[in-house]
Amino acid sequence: MQNNTTKVIIGIVVVLVVALGIWFLAGRQPVEEAAIQEQEQAAAPAAPREVTPPVEEVDYTITILTVSHTGEIIAPDHPAILQIEEHTGYNTEWEFVLGANFAEQMNMRFAAGNLPGIVALTGISGPIVSAALGGAFWDLTDHIPQWPNLADANPTIMNNISIQGRSFGVYRQRPIGRNGIVIRTDWLDYLGIDKPETLDEFYEMLYAFTVNNPQPNGGDTYGMTWTGGFMGAFHQLAVMHGAPNRWEILNEKFVPWFEHEAFAEAMDRARWMFDNGIINPDFAALPTGDLRVDLYAGRVGVEIGVSDEARRTANALRDAGFMTQEELDAGEMVWVMGPVANAQGERRSMALSGHAGFVAISTSGAPTEESLQHHLNFMNMINDPIGQNIVSWGARDHNWEYAGNGTVRIIEQPTNLLEGLNQIMMRQNFVYTQADANSRENAIIEVQRANLDIAIHDPSLPFAALSDTWTANQVSLNQIIDDAVINYTMGHIDMDGFRQEVERWYTEGGQNAIDELSAALAAAR
């Protein structure tokens, strides 16, 4: 038996050799997915300013906290950052929080009271609300009107991020009309079915996808994948059937959506789909992250989700070998559409909140009035088309070039190098779209645009932070209903059982939430 030292040395040598071997054998870098940017065309994009008026340099450093989801971080001397500094005249320092750590990290930062000046927040959860009310962020309600690029923000979305009626920052915009139905058009073609226009046609199509072998080379298929951990697909269906988006206001009172008859209609349909194998029988237990496994493996025909999922699905099908790059570029096989019409002939799209949190100015990072003004100045200057496109696409003429008509052409794949930078994108309507979009891309854009006209909003959003019960308990309360829907779908309970769960919802805080929200509504009127 060799002695200890020799063993250790041998072990180290082996590891090094293996590592070097992999390094050499791996060859070139793998093709990385482009950081695919979102597009929203609520307003026609403003013409880009070809000549930037000279901005005076200020000897002040703006510190910024933003989120990185992959852990890669943009280098501090990246051309994009330099362009931002040029455009605003300030020096910038950037800090990053890993996406998975955001909640805990924020708690620590609040406790320590040492946040940077500009902070990107990913939502309006309980801790953030209480921190804002506790004084962690500046109340900007009176300041915003004084800055042109902040004052022209979309008032509905600003309302949605308000906390107790006050504004603490500018929203991180996401498309309101983002939801859509992704469909395998090659299956439609193979079966000779038209794209569905009504709910009935939609369900017939799903049935056909399940039983009629829509694939030329056979293989098991079914209609849709659901997961018990996230019931977004059902929620959208309920709205399509005619239910409100979580809440509706009747007689000055908030009424939850499950009281609407269309909700029960959607539940019955869900049970029908489950019984006919249209949705996966194990959906209740399917881990949330595995939701799209079958979709990307070509076994599923439809996903009710976000419209840009069409792009990801197409990419995945290409990676899996079902589609060639040419077919992908030509926009084949995967397509997206807006909601189908319900029995009354209405098309209803479940609107999203329009934001993924907001960008705030912390009192610890900008302690004085003067520093607040600097930060507001920075926010103002970055909230124009130039600034927003730099943070979203990268450095102009380095990562992208302007291709006319509100579109850009990518020169160098920004990919993960832009991590974190694009998380402070606020005004998505200023961001250009990608040039040379194929028919699928155009479909995505079109769906999102059309959805705005038929968007059904959640009326509770502006008042949510005013109801302590709702802020604290909405997750548990929502889970009670989702659980009941799942159990009903699977046949574990019937309508009476569902009503019992609804009663539980009321007694475990639902009634309190209704009272508080309604009171807030009355106060606002």
């Binding site: 200890n4 870098q29 793998p30 989801h69 881990p287 992250g289 949190g357």
Partner: protein
């Protein structure tokens, strides 16, 4: 070792061997699946579902790992934390455990009570964070080691191990004039190699697997983010369990399964390789008599 060789004994051996092999297989197969998945192309993973040997091995996933600065650096940090942390922890734990194993130590019971109290009661994340900050350890390498340097569980069990070493061994040394420290280093430690190896392994595994200290105490020094922190981020992203990012997949492309598998293998292999090295300490020791009850 001599054993008697009856028929029953041999039959038992056969069944025992089969059972252990089965158990090892059951515990190993899932990991082999992950390893196989790390060497496969995304297409194959999707197509085949479950497999143990990839038809077309690819090194893309590992190339991705080594192409970024982030992961290899995080691995080195984790190794450093594990090595330095284990040394620090063992230093404090063994000395403390040995002293506490002496029943005649003044204040022993008081100290033990207070120690066990901390096993169950803790101030929580925020106050610990404030203490770490007050000590100036934020964004510091030692913030991943010091706050959790001593595990009460390890301390108590090790203390009991020391307590069960027969007094006679120590006494004979003391009679020869050895001091407490000499007894500790020259007699007790060498007699406890199995225990020392075990708790070193426990600490090393603990340090290797941990991500909470880095999550809480290393907010901006990205240079010293350990591997598990980054790995957790990748796995959670892929699993859709990040509350906010789940349905903000806009700017986030979850990593391909092959990459996720490769990162898991990358994050697990080093610590797995430690155990074989210390196993030789688990052979029969030189102690006289069995561990006393």
């Amino acid at each position: 070792m001599i054993r008697n060789d009856t028929a029953a004994s041999r039959i038992f051996d056969v069944f025992n061997t089969i059972f252990l092999i089965l158990f090892a297989v059951v515990t190993l197969i899932p990991f082999m699946y992950i390893i196989a998945g790390s060497f496969a192309s995304q297409a194959e993973i999707i197509e085949r579902g479950f497999f143990l040997i990839p038809r077309e091995p690819r090194l893309e996933a590992y190339a991705y790992i080594f192409s970024s600065r982030l992961l290899p650096r995080a691995m080195l940090i984790s190794i450093a934390v594990a090595v330095v942390g284990t040394a620090t922890s063992m230093l404090i734990t063994t000395t403390f455990a040995y002293s506490l194993s002496k029943k005649y130590l003044a204040g022993r019971n008081v100290m033990l009570t207070m120690i066990i109290f901390t096993m169950l009661f803790s101030g929580g994340m925020v106050p610990t964070f404030l203490v770490v900050r007050a000590l100036g350890l934020l964004d510091n390498f030692w913030a991943m080691i010091l706050p959790g340097a001593v595990s009460v569980w390890n301390l108590i069990v090790l203390k009991n191990f020391f307590q069960s070493i027969p007094v006679e061994i120590e006494d004979s040394a003391r009679i020869d004039g050895a001091s407490d420290w000499t007894v500790f280093v020259k007699i007790v430690l060498p007699s406890s190699t199995a225990a020392i190896a075990t708790f070193s392994l426990f600490y090393a595994v603990g340090y290797w697997n941990q991500f909470q200290p880095a999550l809480l105490f290393i907010p901006s020094n990205t240079e010293i983010w350990p591997l598990q922190l980054v790995l957790r981020n990748i796995v959670m992203m892929a699993a859709g369990t990040i509350q906010d990012a789940v349905f903000d997949p806009e700017f986030v492309q979850p990593p391909a399964d092959s990459i996720r598998n490769a990162v898991i293998v990358f994050g697990t292999m080093p610590i797995l390789m430690v155990y074989p090295f210390i196993q030789k300490h688990f052979t029969k020791g030189v102690m006289v008599g069995a561990i006393k009850g």
